[in-house]
Amino acid sequence: MKRFKIISAVIILALIALILAVQYRGKSDVSVNNGSNKELSKYTINFLDVFDTSTDITGFATSKEEFDKEANLIKEKLTYYNNLYDIYNEYDGLSNIKTINDNAGVQPVKVSSDIIDMLEFGKDMYELTDGKVNIAMGSVLKIWHDYREAGLDSPETASVPALFDLQEAAKHCNINDLIIDKDKSTVYLQDANMSLDVGSIAKGYAVQRVLEYCKANGMNNILFSVGGNIAGLGARADGDNFKIAIQNPDLESSNPYIEKVEISDGQCVVSSGDYQRFYEVDGKRYCHIINPDTLFPAEGFAGVSVITDDSAKADALSTALFNMSIEEGQAFVEKLDGVEAMWVYHDGTKEYSKNFKDSVIE
């Protein structure tokens, strides 16, 4: 009996060790415990349908189904804003920015308050940035857009627009010709040759609105990444701040990220850079951000990133800073509350606003 007991005890201990060892090794590391015994896992979905860019939604949820439900709501909302702020495509039964442009000099267009609010925000940004962000610059941007498209289609014949054409177009970029009638909910472009291009603010504005929608509907722990616009709601499931990598504008570099930052609840990071959308003529890169003063692509930096608590503002500010000199930019950021920026030069050197480094990790 004694021998039996000893052998049994040894077998039991061996089995316990085996179970623990096998099971512990199989533990997945994506699951995290948020403290309330509810298992949250990290999920990400990607889609390419909105704002002509790649969108990632990252969230923490107890199941894939729960996450998909939220992600689909978010996608629906983003698609709604995408269609509303589209300047190239028409949608059945929807008056969008293209409808306004098509009716320039013809008649006021009745539009949704979501368009009115966004355009008013655009006017505010024009004021704030002293014209460095101008949504009424569609005529100039269209020329560059057409040349860029042609240049990408056949790189051998890529060319740069003539300054004269750009200057002619620039005569029709007066933001005051954008007439917003809030009472009648109409928008009218009183210069027949002008058009709106909301590319510098629409994406950020939409992300901010969707973020607020999510918050109002009780969602939490969600990170949006719509192209260069990143905005976070809440924190990671483990309570830590979201950690965001800022892409290295030098795409050939072995170092994919130029900086890593963390953002607290409601903060966002937006990068503007000449690496995002560009074409080349005779080996020279022409990017999609056009300086309203020179009517040519801004060349001072490879990229500018802004951290602030409003995604719409961040989008506009990163464009504005890209169009300013470093001295102007530093002074501009200094003036604003809760806005920090990082400038990256083409040689990879960086400059920071006063408190940007507070957000940098490592």
Partner: protein, 124 residues
């Protein structure tokens, strides 16, 4: 304690051990290691383990193509028919959740089941 008590304990543990070992073998099959999941316009095209070197030419219905290359545990697009070549210039990916996107061809490469690099998102 009776002999039967020992048999009972050993029995419970053996049953648990068998279930644990089998469930680990089964789940290991699809979590064996990092994979690059390729989707075209939202539908899955294929899954490529990062531990197996491979070069795959992905043909699209309109004659466009992307060449996916996996080597040394990293995944990159080495060639593409798209005009902006952003996917080709894009850095190679290897960590969980990292993506390479080719907008013109509606192609997305996502890394799954890999290590986390502790980054939740990245600006593009």
């Amino acid at each position: 304690m009776k002999k039967n008590d020992f048999y009972l304990i050993i029995g419970i543990l053996i049953a648990t051990a068998i279930v644990v070992i089998f469930s680990n073998i089964i789940t290991r099959k699809d979590t064996a290691g990092a994979v690059a999941v390729v989707t075209i316009d939202g539908s899955e095209y294929g899954r490529f383990p990062l531990d197996r070197d491979v070069t795959e030419r992905i043909e699209h219905s309109d004659g466009a193509y992307n060449v996916l290359s996996i080597h040394d545990g990293i995944c990159e697009i080495t060639e593409a028919s798209c005009r902006d070549q952003i996917c080709v210039h894009h850095m190679s990916v290897q960590y969980n959740g990292q993506t390479i996107v080719c907008l013109p061809n509606k192609l997305v490469v996502t890394i799954e089941n890999s290590n986390n690099d502790d980054i939740d998102g990245a600006t593009h």
